[in-house]
């Protein structure tokens, strides 16, 4: 069954902790419940995007650096 990870706040979504570092999670990779899979920047503050449940990342639905709304699906897990 597919599960979705949602944006906690509106803002800009980032897949990496900083431009020089690797992404928090890759498509096809396994993640644990509570894992951070990205960040949302809202008014110059950064908030983690956390997976409520563990699983395998099927697909990111938002590109790195794109705008997101609150509760917008960011990634699909199985």
């Amino acid at each position: 069954m597919s599960k979705q990870v949602l944006a906690p706040l509106p803002g800009v979504f980032y897949r990496r902790p900083s431009p020089a570092e690797p992404p928090f999670a890759e498509e096809g990779g396994a993640i644990e419940a509570g894992a951070t899979i990205g960040l949302v920047e809202v008014m110059k503050s950064f908030y983690p995007v956390e997976a409520v449940e563990g699983g395998t990342v099927v697909k990111f639905l938002v590109a790195d650096g794109d705008a997101v709304d609150a509760d917008q699906p960011i990634a699909e897990l199985t």
């Binding site: 706040l9 509106p10 803002g11 800009v12 809202v42 008014m43 110059k44 503050s45 650096g65 794109d66 705008a67």
Partner: protein, 469 residues
Amino acid sequence: MPWMRTSRSPSSRDPMTIKTLFIANRGEIAVRVIRAAKALGIRTVQAASEADTDMLAARMADQVVVLGGAPAAQSYLNIPAVLDAIRSSGADAVHPGYGFLSENADFVEQVERMGVTFVGPTAETIRKMGDKSAARAEAIAAGVPVVPGSTGDVADAQEAQAVAREIGYPVMIKARAGGGGRGIRIAGSADELSSLIPQAKAEARAAFGDDALYLERYIPRARHVEVQVLGDGERVLHLFERECSLQRKRQKVWEEAPAAALPPTTREALCESAVALATRVGYRGAGTLEYLYDEGTGAFFFIEMNTRIQVEHPVTEMITGIDLVQAQLRIAGGEKLWLSQRDIQAKGHAIEVRINAENPDRMFMPSPGTVSALTVPHEDVARFDTMLFAGYKVVPFYDSLIGKLIVYGRDRADALVRLEAALDGLQIEGIATTRSLHKALLGAPDVRAGNVHTTWLEDWMKDRASDPK
């Protein structure tokens, strides 16, 4: 403008050479720039991201050009997109506001290469004053005091101790690659210094990939004071000083003019030092020289220059009666300074408080969303520089500053009374704001007495969190 206390500008001025002004910014400062441009009969073109096409500045401008997507990297910081928009708009001048590209020398060079006027200093000045060690060297050459420190990097604990003996304890250990307060340690003695140096080196290497360290004397309980200057490339005048000691995470939250703690002779020396440094670099436009003031010894030290208009410029406008944004435009248009230092008199006291879309009760969590209702204080009570209107949706992509509430009184006590009335008269529904923080600050005896320093606010918040009344 109704909020300007007086207008000392002579009634005659040179004809404005700028016909169309491009505003490469957003929010309240874009609104402020459009007001100034309109007062001078200049046509305005407002830049906007896709998220900002409905903002107040876009509604006020004669024309709007969309730069790109909502994230600043795709719009307000996207130099090729901004240059294209300037070109297509036919503007002959660009106002950068503050933040974004306002202190980007490469951008300034590209604007000027297009034959368009940049409202600000030259690219060379921006580059020089944006480089901390170059700015420090200019200050020393101009005879302006700087925070005593090592002339370059310190290699190890032994060298650090030798330097610290000269500059005096306590010292700050700073990472060359750090910034915004990151990687700073304070050592009160030689022993402490020798144990902190290896730690600081390892941490700087891990955090910045560069383990170079330097030392500066640490000034506890310093006040942040700054001097406003205007230059025309040849002559520089000061418009007195501001005090901005109330800061959270190195962001100013409350600013005043004048700095009431300064004795008159210190004020005079401070303002003269700012003129000396700005004159030395041939400064053009509006600029601010920032200093630390050590109340214990009465000494002040230059820390950096901001080569742009600042958020807190209105408090200076209130006490001098000079419209700084109009002055920027007139200077950019080629006018030589129309004032002498004698023409600039400070009168009364002004306070500005920053209204941010943040929730002070929830660790200043950002609070974007729609403003369902808005009531602003009467203009006799306060000036409110803002981009808000009822129904406006505060977007999450940029700075949280949504307005600046500015009061003017005959003295500081009078300004505090007016600030209370102004805060009571400001109602913003639908989003959380920092208005309640300012109400609480108004009740703090240290704030009322002006007995504050740059870490006072964070200490006060910590005390309140552990001991709620």
